[in-house]
C-alpha cells in the first residue's frame, strides 16, 4: 500500500539542536511501560496542556540532529498514543531515525522546516511530490527522499510486518 500523505497541525516545535527525545517524558519516567501513564508524563516540561490540545494526525517539528544521545522508545510511544502521526525535522540522529522507522513511525528530514512553519500551522507531507507544504501559508519545501527500505518499513507499519513481506530486489 503506498504511503498515505500526512496532514495535520504542527503540535509542537522542538527548537533545541541535538534534542534528546528522552526529555519528552523525562528520564525518570523512561521505564514506565503503561501507555496512559507514559502519555500523562509526556511534554510536562514543555506544555502542561499538551495532551488536551493535541489531536489525531498532528505532527511534530524538530531542529537539526533530532534524537541525539541515547534515544529510548517510550517518548514516541507516548506521542503516538496522544495522536501524533509523524515527525519532521531539519535532520535526524541515525540511532533515533532507525529506531522510529523500525516502529513504522513516519520521519521526514526536511532542511529549512523551522523557517517554514509556526506552531499550529496546518502542514502536509506529500510523499509522491517529496514536499512539505505549509497549508496555512502556502509555502513549501522539498524533503530528503527516504531510502527504499525505510519507505517500505513505514509503508508496512514497522519492521516485523516489513520483514514478513517478500523481499523485493
Amino acid at each position: 500500500m503506498p504511503l498515505q500523505n500526512l496532514r495535520g497541525r504542527v503540535a509542537f516545535i522542538f527548537e533545541e539542536i541535538d534534542f534528546d527525545v528522552d526529555q519528552i517524558v523525562g528520564v525518570k519516567n523512561i521505564k514506565i511501560t503503561d501507555i496512559d501513564e507514559l502519555a500523562a508524563a509526556a511534554m510536562q516540561d514543555y506544555d502542561h496542556d499538551f495532551r488536551n490540545s493535541v489531536r489525531k494526525g498532528d505532527l511534530l517539528v524538530g531542529n537539526a540532529n533530532f534524537g541525539y544521545g541515547h534515544p529510548h522508545y517510550p517518548p514516541m510511544r507516548a506521542m503516538r498514543h496522544l495522536g501524533i502521526a509523524g515527525m519532521i525535522a531539519e535532520s535526524f540522529s541515525p540511532g533515533y531515525w532507525r529506531g522510529e522507522v523500525s516502529m513504522g513511525f513516519p520521519q521526514v528530514s526536511c532542511p529549512g522546516i523551522l523557517g517554514l512553519v509556526r506552531r499550529w500551522d496546518e502542514v502536509e507531507v506529500d510523499w509522491q511530490q517529496g514536499r512539505v507544504t505549509n497549508l496555512t501559508t502556502g509555502a513549501s519545501l522539498p524533503f530528503e527522499p527516504l531510502a527504499l527500505a525505510d519507505r517500505r518499513m513505514i509503508e508496512a507499519g514497522g519492521l516485523v510486518p516489513y520483514l514478513k513481506q517478500p523481499l523485493e530486489v
Binding site: G69, S93, R98, A149
Partner: protein, 418 residues
C-alpha cells in the same frame, strides 16, 4: 575516482563488482553479533520462531552472542534471561561468549574483527571493530532483519575522513582525542556517515587507543568508524580472524563527503559535562569540582593502557577518603594481563575496588549513584540517570583524569601525576 574502504567492503558483502556511497544494496553480513538484554535478544529469538517460523539459523557460525550485561545476575529473572540465551545458542549451534568480558572488546579478541569483513550488531559501540579495518555497524532493531534474512537492505554510507597529525602531549589520551574531535567537528558532523581515521598522527594512538576512538564514533553522528589496516593492527587481527578475507584499503583518490585535519599537539585534557556527550569542555575549567565516584572501565576505556596509566598515577598514593573508585577491566584477557603486570595489585593497594569485566557499571546496574552524587567516568555516556539517579551527574574523561580525581576527590589535572 577511487573507492573508500567502506565502499569496497560493502561491494563484496553485496556481491557486486563495485558500489558507491548512496547506492542501496542488499548486503550479507559476515557476522551478526548481539548481547542478551531484556527486550532485545529474547524478543528477537521469540519473533524468529513465532513471526517467521525460523527454528534454526542456517549458518550458525555467522552469528555470535555475548553474555556481558547482568553479569553476575542479581535476580532469578536476570538468570532466566541468560538461560533463554544459552538455550537458543545451544539449539542453534551459535557461538556463545559468557563471562569473557565486554562483548565489543571480546569480539576483537576472539576473531570477529576480520579486516575487510562486514559486521552488524544492534548496539552502535561495535564500531570499535573498525580499528582493524572491519566495517561494523549498530543497526538497532533492524538487526532482526539480519537474524531472519541472509541479506539486509542498506544504503552504502558516505565517508568523512579525519586525518590526525602532530604529536600528543604527555597526559593526553585517546579518550581526550575523541572528545576533542566531537568538540571541533560537532556532534552531527558525521551524521549517517562513516568516520574514517587516517593521517601521520595515527601512529600516536595505540591499537587500544584507536578502539576507544572508533568505539565512541556514534557521538559524532557516525554510523560507524573505520581505520585502514596497518602492520600492527593486522598482526593482532589476522592470527585471531575467524575467516580469511583480503584486507582492503581506501584508494588515495577515494571520494569523501568531507575531509578534516586534527592537530593532536593542540589537544589538552578535556572533560565532558552532563547531560550529553556533545558537551566537551577544557578540564582545566572544572578543576576542584568535588566528585564522589570514579569509574574506570567500559567498552570504551578499560583496556591495558588505561589500567597502566591509572596504576602509574595511583602507585604509592591513596584514593581520597570516601571516594569510590571502581576499576573494571574490559575483558578477562585484559584483566589477566593486568594482573600479570602487577597493575591490579597497585590499583587495589591504592584503594580501588577492582571487579571482573561486566557492562553493568556503565549503565548503573552496579555501583548505582543516588541523588546529588557526581562521578568521573570513562563510560560511554553521561545522560541523566545513566548511572543511577536522574539527579546524579556524570563527567566523562580519560582514565588518567579518573585516577587523578580519585586521589583528590575532585576533578584534577592528570598531568601533575603523569
Amino acid at each position: 575516482m577511487g573507492y573508500t574502504i567502506t565502499e569496497k567492503i560493502m561491494a563484496r558483502a553485496a556481491g557486486l563488482p563495485s558500489v558507491k556511497a548512496g547506492d542501496e544494496v542488499l548486503a550479507k553480513p559476515d557476522y551478526v553479533i548481539a548481547y542478551d538484554f531484556p527486550g532485545y535478544t529474547d524478543v528477537y529469538f521469540k519473533s524468529m520462531k513465532e513471526d517467521f517460523g525460523i527454528e534454526r539459523v542456517a549458518e550458525p557460525d555467522r552469528f555470535a552472542i555475548f553474555i556481558d550485561h547482568m553479569v553476575p545476575a542479581t535476580s532469578p529473572k536476570e538468570e532466566e534471561l541468560h538461560i533463554i540465551t544459552r538455550t537458543w545458542c545451544a539449539e542453534n549451534n551459535v557461538p556463545l561468549f559468557e563471562r569473557k568480558g565486554i562483548g565489543h572488546q571480546v569480539a576483537a579478541e576472539v576473531g570477529y574483527a576480520v579486516p575487510g569483513a562486514f559486521v552488524v550488531h544492534f548496539d552502535g559501540h561495535i564500531s570499535q571493530l573498525g580499528t582493524f579495518g572491519t566495517l561494523a555497524m549498530g543497526i538497532r532493531r533492524n538487526i532482526l532483519e539480519a537474524f531472519v534474512r541472509e541479506r539486509i537492505s542498506i544504503r552504502v554510507p558516505h565517508t568523512v575522513r579525519v586525518d590526525l597529525e602532530g604529536e600528543l602531549q604527555p597526559g593526553v589520551m585517546a579518550r581526550d582525542v575523541f572528545h576533542h574531535l566531537v568538540r571541533v567537528l560537532g556532534p552531527s558532523s558525521c551524521r549517517f556517515q562513516v568516520l574514517e581515521l587516517g593521517g601521520p598522527g595515527l601512529s600516536q594512538l595505540s591499537t587500544e587507543g584507536l578502539q576507544t576512538v572508533t568505539g565512541l564514533a556514534m557521538f559524532t553522528g557516525a554510523i560507524t568508524a573505520i581505520v585502514n589496516p596497518d602492520e600492527t593492527r593486522l598482526a593482532y587481527a589476522l592470527p585471531r580472524a575467524r575467516k580469511a578475507l583480503d584486507p582492503v584499503w581506501s584508494d588515495p583518490d577515494a571520494d569523501y563527503a568531507a575531509r578534516h585535519t586534527i592537530d593532536l599537539s593542540a589537544i589538552e585534557p578535556v572533560i565532558v559535562i552532563p547531560p550529553t556527550p556533545a558537551n566537551t569542555r577544557d578540564l582545566k575549567d572544572y578543576l576542584g569540582l568535588e566528585v564522589q565516584v570514579g569509574y574506570l572501565g567500559s567498552c570504551a576505556s578499560g583496556r591495558l593502557e588505561d589500567l597502566r596509566v591509572a596504576a602509574k598515577i595511583l602507585a604509592g598514593r591513596q584514593v581520597a577518603p570516601g571516594f569510590q573508585l571502581n576499576v573494571i577491566p574490559t575483558s578477562q584477557e585484559i584483566m589477566a594481563a593486568a594482573a600479570n603486570e602487577g597493575l591490579i595489585g597497585t590499583l587495589v593497594a591504592a584503594g580501588a575496588f577492582v571487579s571482573s569485566p561486566s557492562c553493568d557499571y556503565c549503565f548503573g546496574r552496579i555501583a548505582t549513584m543516588t541523588q546529588k552524587q557526581r562521578a568521573v567516568s570513562t563510560g560511554t555516556l553521561n545522560v541523566r540517570g545513566r548511572m543511577g539517579s536522574t539527579d546524579s551527574e556524570i563527567y566523562l574523561c580519560s582514565a588518567a583524569s579518573v585516577a587523578a580525581a580519585a586521589i583528590e576527590g575532585a576533578i584534577a589535572d592528570p598531568r601533575k601525576y603523569w
